[in-house]
Amino acid sequence: MAIKVKSTTGALNLLAVVLVGLAVLSIGAKNYQRNADVKLLNVSYDPTRELYQKLNPRFGAAYAKETGRKVLVTQSHAGSSRQARTVIDDEQPADVVTLGLPSDIGALQKRGLVPDGWAARLPNRSQPYYSTIVFVVRHGNPFGIHDWPDLVRSNLEIITPDPKTSGNGKLSALAAWGAVVTRGGSEAEARAYLKAFYDRAPFLENGARATSIAFAVEKQGDVNVIWENEALREVAESKGELELVYPKVSILAEPVVTWVDTNVAKHGTEEAARAYLSFLFTDEAQELIAETGYRPFKAEVLKKHRESFPDIQLFPVTAIARDWEDAQQRFFAENGLIETVYRPKPR
């Protein structure tokens, strides 16, 4: 039992005050933002946290060297389509958007936040990296999943995000659809497949990261249908508990970046925003992009990292629709195809 001495209280008070100090210091250190000459808000999709955490300081150094100005980039992450909506609603005054699908920036374009022809403002139609949708399964692949048909063969649980809010969710749906129609299946078969696919989802999270936490941390479900980069990270962090499965075919995902003209005009950040996004296309950034699990657009960098990115068959969006905008309209708009096969299942 504690012996009550006067000094005990004093010592405890001191301890408490020290703890308060430590708490303030640690939270401060973790969330510290330097004073900067230029501030940029990068509104991105869910799994790019680590990518931009690595890229931002490199860009900061390069930008300081070139212009002598300090730049501070703040990141914001959530489901890609949701993020686009918050930028449209001006809840997030984004200087740049780095989103999962061209149609998400298309939504900004429709409302006049970015001009028509925005894609031509940066190299490679404003696509600094590619990615795709793959599977993560539990150790030993107990359900023997190797390709899309395996997902609906057994009675298992598929963990994937909501196609209404998440880029990952949309790409999962398009990849599943394309896996049928690009291999000779009919549209009716593809629809039946998609229905079976969503029937096996116990819930649909808003974004990719919440989904991967549900699968990897909370150990929900049997297979995670997810971005390749997120899958690589998940498997690397799992210490052998998870395995990555590449299906035979999947969709070529084309994340895009652009600056938001209305906002950079307001903030006076157009030059910095342009420099930031151009930096993504440099060799230095491309190397980092590859290391973080995204497929770099530069062929020579991709070649260097070939062993990380198996050469599976990636069909372009044009294999299933006219373009991304058309895919958005056909599948995900009000009364789109997806609404006939799925219903929202929030957690």
Partner: protein, 596 residues
């Protein structure tokens, strides 16, 4: 540690504490998950709080029986504190909650270090009771959706009754299976409590009931995903079978200002809750509590808990009571409870994914209903109108304004009711009897117009300044209409003068002087005298106008003042009454003056 103390605790104490801990942990497990549900976050954070916060606050606290952890009232405030975050950005909401927990810890540590723990006693118990009733009703309203198997609509910004309306009027149907589960849990819990009471069983009724509804629900296939991959009733978020890990909250700076008022509210509320429970148990055990120490324990517990993904917590009424009844011997019981909960989380986590939300909702509604202590409410309402206003005002504030402001509103009401009471000033006319006593003047006393004696009683603070001014003017006016020029003010019952009242007094004395009225202050107490000296009244007020109160409680100072008044009056006394009592001249005259 002395041998005697060790012998005092020893094996039997250890065994009692362990036994109590197992019972308390059994109730802590469902409660912690349920309170996380109230706060709108994953159940695992409730369990983490029931491990880290419970252990630390138990170890450092002063009370031997208080069990800390997530509580209903604190969780309600936490829910509204997190309302500013987009409900779909759940990960941000979690980080914000960890930050909130740390902020609550800092507030509570500050209260403890500056020894403000005693301040909580200025919050009336009627305010706390009113708050508890409001919180209980809010809890029940908030769980209606879960109990009926409906998706809860609306965000924390919206009023709780509006959210209920949205939830109830959505196109979806009531899920009868969910109703069966929540209703079953409610009924079984009521029965189980009766059985436990009658046969003096260990109080693990909540845990048992949870099993009794979750297992059949599982066997009936309601909580299993078959075929359609969607369960028939919605389940709680599963808890990973791991202990809470160290995690520094990743925050946005704007959150700090947005949550600061909530952190203050939770900080105070948590301490009130914990101290009230600790006091109630200590009253039975005769334990001497160190309030500030208990505040410190709550603060450190919350602060450290925040770094292990904890939610804000406080002292739990039901768990503490069970801990006491289960025979806990020392505060190690709290530490053991935390350890047992940790072990249970590791062992039982895989099964938490089969707990229907409706089951927890049923138990929560019952627990909330039990918080409304009808007997106590009746007592308060009977006791005084003043307390009834506090009780109803605080309860309504919780329901209408918001739970985080309820206590503040209650305190504001008590101040609003208290100040006019404190500001009351009593003024009465005095008379000096033939025997030389000072007493209140009776209507039968002969009218004496030469020297008027008035008594003032009350607090001399800003609240009473206006009353003081009017009363003094009334007294002066009466002296004037009676045709006298001498006024003795007995001030020995005026307390704690402040600047506002001293200024009123000074203005009155100066004006009276100009108007030719002689005012003598009798029975001036040290605090008033110090004020008069500091404000240098002596520069314009003759020294013989002030008679200091003697050590004794007698009225010698007043008598002296009256004598001085008659001396000053001298031959100008034209009072009819005095003329009959005081000889016109000669040595007798002075003697008579001394008699009065």
């Amino acid at each position: 540690m002395s041998t005697a103390q060790r012998a005092g605790y020893g094996w039997s104490g250890l065994r009692s504490d362990l036994q109590a801990a197992i019972t308390v942990a059994a109730i802590s497990l469902p409660q912690s998950m349920a309170y996380a549900l109230i706060a709108g976050v994953d159940p695992r954070f409730g369990l983490y709080t029931a491990i880290v916060f419970t252990a630390i606050a138990g170890l450092l606290g002063s009370s031997s029986h208080l069990i800390n952890g997530p509580t209903g009232a604190v969780s309600l405030v936490t829910f509204s504190a997190l309302a500013f975050i987009d409900p779909e950005a759940r990960l941000s909401a979690f980080e914000a909650m960890f930050l909130l927990t740390a902020m609550v810890g800092v507030v509570q540590i500050a209260i403890a270090v500056f020894k403000l723990g005693d301040l909580t006693r200025y919050i009336s118990e009627s305010v706390v009771t009113g708050f508890m009733v409001g919180a209980a009703i809010l809890t029940m309203v908030g769980q209606v959706g879960n109990a009926l198997g409906l998706k809860n609509l609306g965000s924390g910004h919206q009023h709780v009754f509006y959210r209920l309306w949205l939830t109830l009027t959505q196109p979806a149907h009531v899920n009868l299976k969910a109703v069966a589960i929540s209703g079953g849990a409610l009924v079984l819990a009521v029965l189980a409590r009766r059985l436990v009471r009658r046969y003096r069983l260990p109080q693990i009724d909540m845990f048992t009931v949870l099993l009794l509804v979750a297992v059949p629900a599982f066997l009936l296939g309601w909580s299993r995903a078959t075929g359609t991959a969607k369960t028939a009733v919605s389940l709680i978020e599963p808890v990973p079978a791991s202990l809470p890990g160290f995690h520094i909250p990743s925050i946005r700076w704007g959150w700090i200002s947005q949550m600061s008022s909530s952190a203050l509210a939770i900080g105070f509320l948590g301490l009130l809750e914990a101290l009230a429970i600790a006091k109630a148990i200590a009253y039975k055990t005769r334990q001497k509590l160190d309030f500030n120490r208990q505040c410190l324990a709550e603060g450190v517990g919350n602060l450290v808990g925040a770094f292990f993904r904890g939610m804000p917590g406080s002292g739990s009424l039901s768990r503490s009571a069970i801990n006491y009844q289960a025979g806990a011997a020392s505060k190690l019981s709290g530490v053991f409870t935390a350890v047992v909960v940790a072990v249970m989380v590791l062992l039982l986590a895989p099964f938490t994914r089969y707990i229907p939300k409706a089951a927890l909702a049923g138990l929560l509604i019952l627990a909330a209903a039990r918080l409304i202590d009808i007997e106590r409410l009746r007592y308060i309402v009977r006791a005084s109108k003043y307390d009834t206003v506090l009780l109803v005002g605080t309860g309504l504030a919780a329901l209408v304004v918001g739970v985080e402001f309820a206590i503040l509103v209650g305190v504001a009401i008590s101040i609003a009711l208290y100040v006019p009471r404190a500001a009351r000033m009593r003024i009465s006319k005095l008379a000096v009897t033939e025997e030389g006593f000072v007493r209140e003047r009776l209507p039968s006393d002969p009218a004496c117009t030469a020297v008027a004696i008035f008594d003032l009683e009350g607090e001399l603070f800003f609240g009473s300044a206006a009353t003081l001014e009017t009363e003094l003017e009334k007294a002066a006016h009466q002296v004037h209409t009676d045709g006298g020029r001498h006024l003795v003010l007995r001030v020995k019952r005026l307390r704690n003068p402040d600047a506002v009242c001293l200024e009123k007094l000074e203005v009155f004395l100066r004006d009276a002087g100009k108007a030719g009225l002689v005012v003598i202050l009798a029975g001036v107490r040290p605090d008033l005298l110090a004020g008069i000296q500091r404000l240098r009244f002596a520069e314009w007020l003759p020294a013989d106008r002030i008679f200091v109160q003697e050590e004794d409680e007698a009225d010698s100072a007043t008598l002296k003042a009256v004598r001085r008044a008659y001396q000053l009056l001298g031959d100008d006394n034209r009072c009819a009454h005095c003329a009959t009592h005081i000889p016109v001249s000669g040595p007798q005259r002075n003697a008579a003056v001394y008699v009065v």
